[in-house]
């Protein structure tokens, strides 16, 4: 069986889900309300059906002469493990404007991989994926920052990295400068900033672009309480703006505050797509399993 066949087979078979999937109050309710078939609508949406992805595992094998000799002498396993690792399988959801989906799961469950796939970084190997609408991935807010450039120059540099022209950025500069509260420091090189100042600038730049879809992965690091409040306020503004938000996180509090549904992952498989409290309970149950 080829890797794609086996992946498809595993996508057909539901991932081993502890009791929630298929229950009356869980994910199927949404599925009933919304047609899960291929959407032909023009509003912003993200739709995945039986999406799966594998990573090759043999890339990081050691190819040393020593290993080859041991193998030839029969002192070690003759066959390298060439089976690809299934990182995502059976992902099904349909997000529409106003949906704010928290992606939960333990370390290595596939949260970041799924977020990257939504952002268009990884493309699905099997299954179908449709995305309509402008997207801003906030997976790494430091992208494109150059320590030798001033804060102001970095605003333009970042714009170039995400494909915006100078004119596009000019309309945003005032808003960014105001939000990051750096004062005259905005004209000094970023390498002279404290880490909190860099985080403020990066966050202001990254969130200055309005989009239909936001993809966030555990991003609030440095910055004091005042900044955190302002950042949270900005995210709340999106929430009122009928956008689609994906938030990968370990924090139950953040999910309760910002999300209105939850997607639980376990070993790359989608365990549930359900209401917030249900999803958090399920995730905590999974965390207790060995």
């Amino acid at each position: 069986m080829s890797e794609i066949d086996s992946l498809q087979a595993s996508a057909e078979a539901a991932p081993s889900a502890p009791n929630v999937e298929g229950s009356e109050s869980g994910q199927p309710r949404r599925a009933l309300l919304r047609n899960i078939g291929s959407p032909e609508i023009d509003e912003a949406h993200v739709w995945m059906s039986k999406v799966g992805l594998t990573f090759p595992t043999h890339l990081d094998d050691t190819h040393s002469i020593k290993v080859a000799m041991l193998r030839a002498a029969g002192l070690t396993s003759k066959h390298r493990n060439k089976r690809p690792k299934v990182v995502l399988r059976g992902i099904n959801f349909h997000a529409r404007p106003g949906d704010r989906i928290g992606i939960l799961g333990r370390n290595g469950a596939g949260k970041t991989t799924l977020l990257r796939m939504i952002a268009g970084i990884y493309e699905p190997e099997v299954g179908r994926f449709q995305r309509n609408g402008s997207i801003v991935p906030l997976l790494n807010i430091m992208l494109g920052m150059d320590g030798f450039l001033s804060g102001l120059e970095n605003i333009y540099a970042r714009g170039r990295y995400i494909g915006l022209s100078k004119v596009d950025m000019e309309s945003r500069v005032n808003d960014i400068v105001e939000f990051c509260e750096l004062g005259d420091d905005i004209l000094r090189p970023v390498r002279t900033y404290s880490s909190g100042m860099v985080a403020r600038l990066a966050f202001a730049i990254a969130t200055s672009v309005r989009a239909d879809i936001y993809v966030m992965d555990e991003w609030i690091g440095a910055g004091d309480a005042r900044f955190f409040d302002r950042a949270a306020k900005r995210v709340e503004n999106w929430i009122h703006d009928d956008t689609i938000v994906f938030l990968g996180t370990h924090s139950d509090g953040l999910v309760r505050e910002w999300c209105n549904s939850v997607l639980v992952l376990e070993r790359g498989g989608q365990v549930a797509w359900c209401d917030v409290e249900e999803g958090i309970a399920l995730k905590n149950k999974i965390l207790l399993e060995p």
Binding site: F55, P56, L59, R116, A119, G120, I121, Y122, E123, P124, E125, V126, G127, R128, F129, Q130, R131, N132, G133, S134, I135, P137, L139, N140, L143, G144, D146, F148, L149, A157, R160, Y161, I162, G163, L164, S165, K166, D168, S171, V209, R210, A211, D212
Partner: protein
């Protein structure tokens, strides 16, 4: 085409709208959308190339002027040595060497940087949607910016020393032909170098002796007999002929042009196949 990448500005806030649909048999459509995105963002790519070059010379007083100084110093010093070795008039050899060295440095840097272009932009590839074709285009633009510091020297030297009138009108064509040959090689090396990390050391080793067996700094017209095979069987020789001949006032023979066009066609075909087949894997391999 099931996949439509509709990218249009409708409102100030909505920057682009696109529709991604993935599944089997859509690789070609996705590859085309990838290239389309890159072509649309060439202005930004030029700005990024300039910014990268500038940041490389941050805090330097002369900045990219070092590129010019370095080239002039090397060529000036080496041309005296070569004049004694090859018993050519100094001016003739200077012209030959100058065009050869400037172009060779461009070729060598482009090829070696190509082999590591995806791993070195790993952060960008993993944090935002970066089309696979965008990386080689920005890299080529940066190398062209460096070349733009060297070519004026070649032009000045040629204007002052060429024994035959310089074929100025041929220079754009020769440069275009060179790029049509070098871009697919670099882009293919990009895929190879991402999958097999031995590519960079292997390539450095190979290019290290290719510069000696190719007529970059020695004059091929002095090679006769069996040794001539080293020249005639060497693809780099033909590439250098295409690039250098206009500065020497020599019209590149038609067979060389036809061979170059044929080779370019083969390379682009190969690149198209590899690009469609392995484009998706770049984000996973890096």
């Amino acid at each position: 085409m099931t996949k439509q990448a509709l990218e249009h500005r409708d409102r100030e806030d909505r920057l682009y709208v696109e529709r991604v649909q993935s599944g089997k048999g859509q690789r070609v459509a996705e590859a085309l959308a990838d290239i389309k995105w890159t072509i649309r963002h060439i202005p930004q790519a030029i700005e990024i190339a300039g910014q990268e070059l500038a940041s490389r010379y941050a805090r330097s007083i002369l900045g990219p002027l070092w590129l010019v100084i370095g080239t002039i110093t090397f060529i000036g010093a080496f041309s005296f040595l070569g004049t004694f070795l090859f018993k050519m008039p100094w001016t003739t050899y200077l012209n030959y060497l100058c065009a050869g060295i400037v172009y060779w440095q461009f070729i060598q840097t482009w090829l070696i940087e190509s082999a590591s272009m995806y791993p070195s932009s790993q952060v960008a590839l993993h944090s935002t949607r970066t089309p696979t074709s965008y990386i080689p285009v920005t890299l080529l633009l940066r190398n062209l910016l460096v070349l733009a510091h060297g070519l004026p020297i070649v032009a000045v030297v040629a204007a002052l020393t060429a024994t035959q009138p310089v074929l100025w009108y041929m220079i754009p064509f020769s440069l275009l032909m060179g790029l049509l040959l070098l871009f697919p090689i670099g882009a293919l090396l990009g895929f190879l170098g991402t999958r097999y990390r031995d590519t960079v050391p292997a390539l450095s080793t190979i290019l290290g002796f290719v510069v000696y067996v190719s007529p970059v700094w020695w004059d091929d017209s002095q090679v006769k007999g069996l040794g001539r095979l080293i020249v005639d069987l060497n693809p780099v020789y033909y590439l250098l002929r295409v690039l250098r001949d206009p500065f020497l006032g020599v019209m590149t023979p038609l067979p060389i042009w036809l061979g170059a066009i044929f080779t370019a066609a083969v390379l682009w075909g190969l690149l198209a196949v590899v690009f469609v087949r392995f484009r998706r894997m770049i984000a996973i391999w890096v």
